[in-house]
Amino acid sequence: MNSDMIAFIELGFRHITDAAALDHILFLLALAAIYRPRDWRQALGVVTAFTVGHSLSLALAVNGTVSFPTRWVEFLIPLTIVVTCVENIVVSRSGNTPWRRRYRPLFSGVFGLVHGAGFANYLRDVFADRIALPLLGFNIGIELGQVVVLAFAALGIAGIDYAWAALRRGGAASSFRVRVMVVSSVILVVATRWAVERNPW
């Protein structure tokens, strides 16, 4: 692999794993919050849908097919997090899983479109006339970064489950519900604040 490709992979990886990318990280965390180790197939489907949506909008925006207004995109990103958290909380509280949550990959794909648009504008501006290699490398780096973020998220979530189960001795079902509620509520409050602060009006 040439140094160009490695450099752009590194750029994407560092971009998504930086603390300043907390909006993307929290979205991934909100997506992952409702899954247990045995649900890994569903989790993989949702994350893959997010990746497809995100790559699609990045490619479309960067090659100039579509143009996304930055202020709106930056407002919509926290909104996607809010919607994901609300869905987590509502479904978890009701105890029902409508359509076995098979709509989640679709939601995730659509929300991925919004997140991809988030940095497409910047990428296009910087690498205006030689976009193919930077786009490919950057996207691979983003995906690798997401895998790392999700691995840490899975560890954190397992830690919450374990701590709650040890504290309450309420069984796996109880700790799972508490985990979904706590993780989703924290992220919901943070994302709501971002949405208010980034409102485009």
């Binding site: 140094s3 450099a7 560092r14 300043a20 930056e74 501006d125 910087v126 409050v189 604040r193």
Partner: protein, 171 residues
Amino acid sequence: MVTVKRLIRTAILAGIVVTGLFVPRGIASAHPLHTSLAEIGYDERSGMLTVSLRVFADDVAKASMEYARRISPKRATMEEPRIAAYALSVFVVADRSGTRLLLSPCGEKHIGEMMWLCFKTRVASHPGSLRVSNSILFEKYPDQINVVQAALKGRKATALFSPGDGFKQLQ
């Protein structure tokens, strides 16, 4: 038992609200890609080494203003020499032996949100490799990553610079 349950619920709720309220404001801002791109080329016929530096115009304008205020308050109002002077203070090219090449400005243009800056210098012979340092905008953004590409003797080499990096060899 009911009181303990309520207490735990209240504590969790309070924790959630406090977390939301105390997320630093800077993190809540949008997440732009803090990056720049520099391309270094060498023309054998003219013996000129050229640097094309692309950087976000508003960021470099602010950074150069702060730089000019530190160096010379009188020059702080003249934008063009100010930006070039700032760029040359943070973008350094040296030859293989470590001798700094004296770059001089050769123009600038705005394209969209970007500013493209041109610098050049004459070198005696083909620089097979270069030592480069690029810390543009590091003082403004801790997540700034500067990409430097060099095309030398038919080979392309790329290096990334982030805060804390010094010189890197491109060959």
